[in-house]
Symmetry: D2
Subunit: 342 residues, 4 copies
């Protein structure tokens, strides 16, 4: 590279002299092209590309306090609008969804509070959000029955984590539930660590009540071929990671196991790369493994998911416009899978 190649495009200064739409602001961020502003603008571009690439399957990784923080409708709307094809998430995220699906609520609070008093009052805290214990108790009872029902129906069969999510979704009524809407729209939800959540303890309750006669069995490994199959059958694969942990790792591992490598990747996190956790590891590193292609469009946005994710969605919706239609490949792939007895 010659000297002049480094000095090609001057930063243009962001200009805000009237009310801007979110995407107008993002286009100003692109003028800046640097630091957080540049990263976020590039992430918006990559998501737009994924959406407009007819060969791309879009995996969304959800972790952390997305639902308590008020991002639930964003996810259900993305599913309904076919702006995401596969979800990989934690047990906790789906528990949070389920809590609201059965009528519970998350309440605005503060992080600076006396937790001993909250304990006394049977109020659980998630940073600056409160959940009353009774919502969890209700969940335990409602879901223990749902487990019984599924166990009876699936007698003798084991379920994969996505089948578990599908069966739950089928039995929830709330039209704003991620589990429900994903069921309706046939978007698979993988929960590789499903046991690590209230779902695990509900299982204990359910299995005890049944005296172990007919418990629901989720086969820990059974979702592996399914998610890898999706990667494998899709010409291209893209991921959007909100947070990190198991959901990010599962998508990346599926990309390598299916010998595809991701074509697009956006990660939003505040975890650091230097301490050895997967969540903060760079996307560059994934290239060495073959998890992401060397030439993939990718961006790691260093920021609070609960600030960045809505911006990403707002920009995409504005860019696509009302007439945009997308035909996800997974619908065909899934259909094939179903006909084969899914």
């Amino acid at each position: 590279m010659e000297r002049k190649d480094y000095l090609k495009e001057p930063v243009k200064h962001i200009k805000i002299d009237k009310a801007l739409t979110v995407d107008e602001l993002i286009r100003q961020f692109k003028n800046s092209g640097s630091f957080g502003a540049g990263k976020l603008a590039t992430a918006c571009d990559i998501y737009e590309k994924m959406l407009k690439d007819p060969e791309c399957t879009i995996f969304l990784a959800l972790s952390g306090a997305i639902i308590p923080a008020g991002m639930r409708s964003l996810v259900t709307d993305l599913i309904r609008k076919k702006m995401v094809d596969v979800i990989v998430t934690t047990g906790a995220c789906m528990v949070h969804d389920a809590i609201e699906a059965i009528g519970g609520h998350h309440y605005k609070g503060t992080w600076s509070v006396n937790d001993k008093e909250l304990y006394k009052y049977h109020i659980f805290r998630i940073y600056d959000i409160y959940v009353p214990e009774e919502d969890y108790v209700k969940l335990d009872y409602v879901f223990s029955e749902i487990y019984d029902e599924i166990a009876k129906e699936k007698k003798g069969q084991t379920l994969s984590s996505d089948e578990f999510a599908f069966e739950i979704g089928k039995r929830l009524k709330d039209p704003n539930s991620i589990l429900r809407v994903a069921y309706e729209e046939n978007v698979p939800i993988f929960i590789p660590a499903v046991r690590d959540s209230e779902f695990g303890f509900i299982h204990w309750m359910h299995a005890s009540q049944n005296n172990q006669k007919n418990p629901l069995v989720v086969d820990a490994f059974k979702d592996v071929p399914t998610i890898c199959g999706i990667c494998s059958k899709s010409p291209k694969n893209g991921m959007i990671v909100l947070g990190g942990g198991v959901p990010r790792n599962t998508i990346q591992s599926s990309a390598i196991a299916s010998k595809k490598g991701l074509d697009y990747a956006v990660v939003v996190t505040m975890d650091r790369p230097e301490t050895g956790g997967l969540s903060g590891s760079t996307l560059e590193e994934t290239v060495s493994w073959g998890k992401m292609k060397g030439e993939a469009d990718h961006m790691m946005v260093i920021g609070d998911v609960l600030m960045v994710f809505p911006i990403l969605v707002a920009s995409a919706i504005e860019r696509l416009g009302e007439d945009f239609k997308r035909s996800p490949l997974t619908q065909k792939i899934n259909k094939g899978a179903e006909e084969n007895g899914r």
Copy 2:
């Protein structure tokens, strides 16, 4: 507090079903009311309050790579629109402004680059931004002459850091320069660590050329009574801190020295509170010192300034509308100061 007081306001889920303006999005963030979304929404509310409070003087602390990252016009426009009354910044920030004022540029680059090659090419890197060395060389020569000129004019007198900024601004032509516009609009710019920047080394050059006969003297302590005087004469004081370091500390110290305590405070940073640096310290901590009032409206947004600051500005501009007029108190205070021979 009773139990029900903790469970008053459920989180409302963010809804994005069409193109939103930035402030419409911020109002959705307020529905969430939690984590980064809630913090940012509250920060926007506080800035709006500051702007609408006729008794409040607004201090803006600038540090880091604000200018190279494309935020220069945001600052000049805030000054012109009288949406900020006092600026406290670093030498480096004003050097970045000056570089562009004399025709230099910051260029879009990447953080993943061979720095030895950049060195060979005389290109300086600021994370993902490049600046050619010749812009700094030009700055050295142009400013050395400006120093001479000021020194002659102010013969025998010492300057405070804000007078230094004022004299520089007077001599710059660029209508987009923060130093220039602040001069025109009579907004003081305090640079408490002015020496810690290219300005320091230009001084060395200037002083050597003059054989020390008539050097420019900036009195390190001379701006203390000026900034404390502004705090003291203003019924209320608010600060917006972008980054941290000396600018944040200076504003907070002025608030305590003037025995006022801040009434409003917004801090945007990614520094952590646990390691003993001022930049990441909580606003709660400032209450113990009297730097901020116990009942002050305050928010610390954990995020990248280069993403958050434009949102804060866009929201404020949208909320205030075109007809909004603000009469900063400092204009009177400064006038008084000038008549007393500033």
Copy 3:
């Protein structure tokens, strides 16, 4: 609290005038009593208390790059010395252990490297560590056979994640393997997200080879009653969390599900509390849930696990001395469990 109660104990300055042992340094940190030094000293005290409390069961949560980073022997020695009673970890951690158990290695590298070249060379990168692909390929083949063997032996039975770990450990020869040593010492290893790792993809291979006739089945939920049972039967419970993620969440959830609440807790992490992830959430927050008792000894050390963990271990070993013997409760609990057909 009166004023004088706040001003009781002055910070004593750390003094290093000769070679110090690690614990002598930690005692100096205690003199400081503040920031990272104070937190680390307190963490050492808490671990010592756990070890000396005959009623306490010690849970160790492992995540991230502990093994590649050279902490493997620390863990095996803790197991052998009965300084940890239960391990909860990720699939990836145990894969890293297994890679070395079958003769593979992790190599010292650098984080600043061309990942496309590494990909070309079939070398995987974990921050500044390299692993050759052939070690993974070997793992796939060796473990696929181990899976077959276990499946045959356990025909028709499902395994819990700890039984899976136990069966693997039984079949490994390497005396430095965590899986092996835990098997020998009867220390249970829970891997709640076992599927999210190479273990998942080996399962795919194994199941395909068998034409699904007789695959190994790990029941995702089956370890819940086991780990909760340990908490429940132990008068007191303490945890040491290295990193976060599923292992931390699982221990905390077990503490609440067993209605015990942790009595001791040390967390080492660099994740932040503000962004909604469990890994960075404060220990104060866990009190509201009943995951930790309000009066528990607890400390969250903000630091790199790969720097802090060896210090914690070195301090404990030095404090306990050579004659220290500990009789973990779990050995009895486990024995009871085994007699009941574990």
Copy 4:
């Protein structure tokens, strides 16, 4: 580079089977060679190299809560043992030193406290440390007199920041004061942002009392040639940065202004590189500017200074042994400077 070059040195696992000295632990960290452990071990090696390189001048940058956190004696001992040649620090750090020099104390506290109560009690909080207001009031009075004294003695002359520190040190009695010991040992202390601290407000007090007749004048720019001169005259230059901010920037800028470029660099910080602040910027970036040589030994340790700094010192003291003597170049350089009327 060929494939085998990447796979040369396997990670050796850390082994702790008895009480270790701090440097024995660091050597185990070197066996790991990765993540925080590897970074810290390399940092210790670099500091050792600096100390043993007879051509190297060692600059120490201090910022943040070093003194309140109990690191004061570490610094004074480094000065006395000639293990550091030049100090660059903040006004706040030297205020903290001065507070203790006049008999004040910093007290152990907690970060989780009611700051409004502390305010009521006139207790200032620095994260988990408390300082009573009366210590600051005492400082104001004692130092106002010291200012008067210096002003009288230096009548008509301006002081540089290091001369200011020197004059203060001369007047303090406390043998544990950094300012005092640096004065005794002729180690210059540069305080480029001296005004941004209680020193600034004491100046206001002092200047008001004198009716501006004979105030102490610190020339903001006067220390530039002095520190650049040290860099320039020293064959090699190394820096150890604890924290960041102005002290780090000043050393780096001096290295470039003197056209030398650093030969050794250790930075300890938890600030991030992605947000545009100098404190978190990588050492790689400094190479592009010429602040550090491309081939310099350098390491950025991501960790809490208040944990890492004592380890760095303990390791160095253990490695050097009791008989080690070092003849700093600055002593000659300074002597030369003094003879020329410093």
